[in-house]
Amino acid sequence: MRNLNRRHFLKTTTATSAAMLGYGTGMRGAFAQDPTPVPTEEPTLIGEGGTEITMWVQDFGPLVDSFRKSAEAYVAAGNDVKVTVQPIAFGDLLAKMLPSIAAGNEADIMLGYTDWYVATDISRLFLNLDGLLGSKEELESTLFPSTLSTIAMPEGSIYYLPYLAGVRSAITTYNGAMYEAQGIDPESLATWEDLVEAGKQLTVMDGGAMSVAGLSPLSASLSMVKTWIWQVGGDFYNQESGEWKLSSPEGEAAVQRLVELVSGDQPTVSYDLASSATEFEVWNQGKIATHLNGAFTIGVTPEELRAGGIPTPTLAEMVNDVLYPEHIAVVTLSRRLADNDEKRNHCVAIAKGLLSADALIDVTNQYSGLICSKALYDDPRIEETIYGPVSKRLAQAVWPRCQWPRDHVANQDPAKTEIDRALRGEISIQEALSNADSYLNDQESQARERIGL
């Protein structure tokens, strides 16, 4: 065998490295279709007027467009304002929202999610909207009433305007192409058990490894546990005492249902294929037939998958027909506007524009999630937009059945992780639920201490 001298070693390693790199990247041509993270967009300035207004919105295309168009329409109507629309990534928006409010430099109009605000006193976060956008009764007549009850509001006042929601766990999203190939009509799946059977049929094993997951509940695991506890007549949170209790026969049965999907006799999802964090990417690769990540995913899925949605089927043993859709996106106004009548009036008018039928109908050309406005779906124009019909069908089926615990724990990820650990077999179901209860009760009691409950 020839000795490997330095020159030969270098030539060999360089050639091997180049070959490996080319080999690895060359065969990944299809990856160009995968979603590519892009930097947060630059703010848009609209108008040249004397009153400066800032809007913060999550950097999700349909939302940004809607905020921009509402500002443009308001400026075009001859109002003396200069509006800055600032798109901000979801995590960044969450991280900066409360510190900015505390520092008094938050935007005038903000988009956020209800579960961000539950661990503090919402009356100290945002402008009280009582009377500014009509009475509570008027709002309840134009909105789905359940969307006004997601957070416990001091003295029944209104501090946020329900906007739209992806409703994770309340909606089941399916890969239409796969369902059709298997001859399964998703609309015919009446119960959760039917959905599981369909998931088993759609699961594809390839040499001992799962190559297609028929049904993945991974991103919605904790929400499904809550939903199922309610559906069989149990409860997991006491609004009066603030006590969490997922550890119950109903809770254990709920987690057991999820465990069956991961490690039962005929699993429908594998952690080797997807996790809660990567579920959406794997779905977009056409390797998940059904998931519970929310209706918004229908509009951002590659067309060839022909994604569709149905309200998540209830358990066969259901006694309460309820669904738990995690959170909703809401529009809020800065408390600082209370001292500036002129600016407040401009902001209220822009917010009204955002929630007008015209603006929301336009949103459904890009957004497939649920809109909180009941009146919107009575407008015949909704049938002509791209996602209007599916949004209407799902909203009318889901919103009236939605229920919220109105708890005070802002970050429930650790509880979800405990469920995830049970699904992976790291810990027992009982231990997972006990750990989740321990965390939730600890955070709940500290939040209640802060709020003064």
Partner: protein, 303 residues
């Protein structure tokens, strides 16, 4: 004049001389630096200590809770779990990174001058790549199913791996990424250190029959001890405070939740800033202890 009187006069002259040499500009600059240091470090640090005795969420008035947060940390399983992940990451990353960086520096040192520049530049590229780009690149490489690394593995008939989907692999995936990203910087420091070693010393060792291995063990490593010490201290602080890599390449469950990530979650997601501040105080104490131990060990060996 007595000896004592002479010393008193000399001492007075010295003080007077020192006073005359004090530069006004120097005092201004020093005061500015002290003010800056106080503003960006001392004030926030004492604020964090104050906060660790409160229950606060940015919005409501802080509520004094005494030692409750400290007592809570001691009994918090999530805290100790995050501490364990941090410890494993730090020990593994620092060990692997130091060995690799030293090996690369030693290897490059053996090359002709032209190739030395080329390879140093090559290894330094990841250091100048923005962190977020590196992280997203590796996230792409680690994708389950159709990821690049799994593509290569399957082409060679090897089983595909879940990587970031796996509780047992995710942390090691991040370690590999961090080692790759920081290798060039550490290698250059080692390379500079090796270049500082007297060629006469190495030539003498060669004449005595010492090969590269013996030279490395008996000459190069002992003489590079200050550099190893510096790298370890800086790396301990850097790895314990590391955040973006864990936030953006997070693995399942608590497998990649370090103390830095836990602190962030407590403060900005859970809105429990008081407890988050308490955890950050513990991180500071851990780092202080680790640094003091390292310094003491180094001083002992030096003496």
């Amino acid at each position: 004049m007595s000896a004592i009187s002479i010393r008193k006069v000399q001492s007075a002259r010295s003080r007077s001389h020192a006073a005359r040499n004090v530069s006004t500009m120097g005092v201004v600059v020093a005061l500015f630096l002290i003010a800056y240091y106080a503003l960006v470090f001392i004030v926030p640090f004492y604020r964090a200590i104050w906060l660790s005795f409160q229950n606060w969420d940015f919005i409501v008035d802080p509520i004094y809770v005494g030692m409750r947060n400290y007592d809570h940390v001691i009994h918090d399983d999530y805290f100790w779990q995050a501490a364990k992940v941090t410890l494993v990451f730090s020990v593994a990353e620092i060990s692997i990174a130091l060995i690799c960086a030293f090996g690369v520096a030693l290897g490059i040192h053996q090359l002709p001058h032209v190739l030395q520049r080329f390879y140093l530049g090559l290894f330094y590229i990841p250091v100048v790549v923005p962190g977020i780009v590196s992280i997203l690149l590796w996230r792409w490489l680690y994708l389950p199913g159709d990821g690049v690394i799994n593509g290569v593995l399957s082409r060679f008939g090897l089983p595909v791996q879940p990587f970031l989907n796996s509780t047992s692999q995710a942390l090691w995936c991040i370690i590999a990424m961090v080692v790759w990203a920081n290798l060039g910087g550490a290698a250059i420091i080692f390379f500079a250190g090796i270049n500082e070693i007297s060629i006469d010393l190495l030539e003498a060792a060669k004449l005595d029959g010492a090969g590269l291995w013996r030279q490395t063990i008996n000459i190069i490593i002992p003489l590079l001890r200050p550099i190893f010490f510096y790298q370890v201290v800086v790396s301990v602080i850097g790895t314990v405070q590391m955040f973006e890599q864990f936030y953006l390449l997070s693995g399942p469950g608590f497998s990649t939740r370090t103390l830095a990530v836990y602190t962030y979650e407590l403060g900005f997601k859970t809105l429990n800033l008081g407890y988050g501040a308490t955890v950050s105080i513990f991180i500071f104490l851990f780092l202080l202890a680790a640094t003091v131990i390292q310094v003491q060990r180094f001083m002992t060996k030096q003496s």
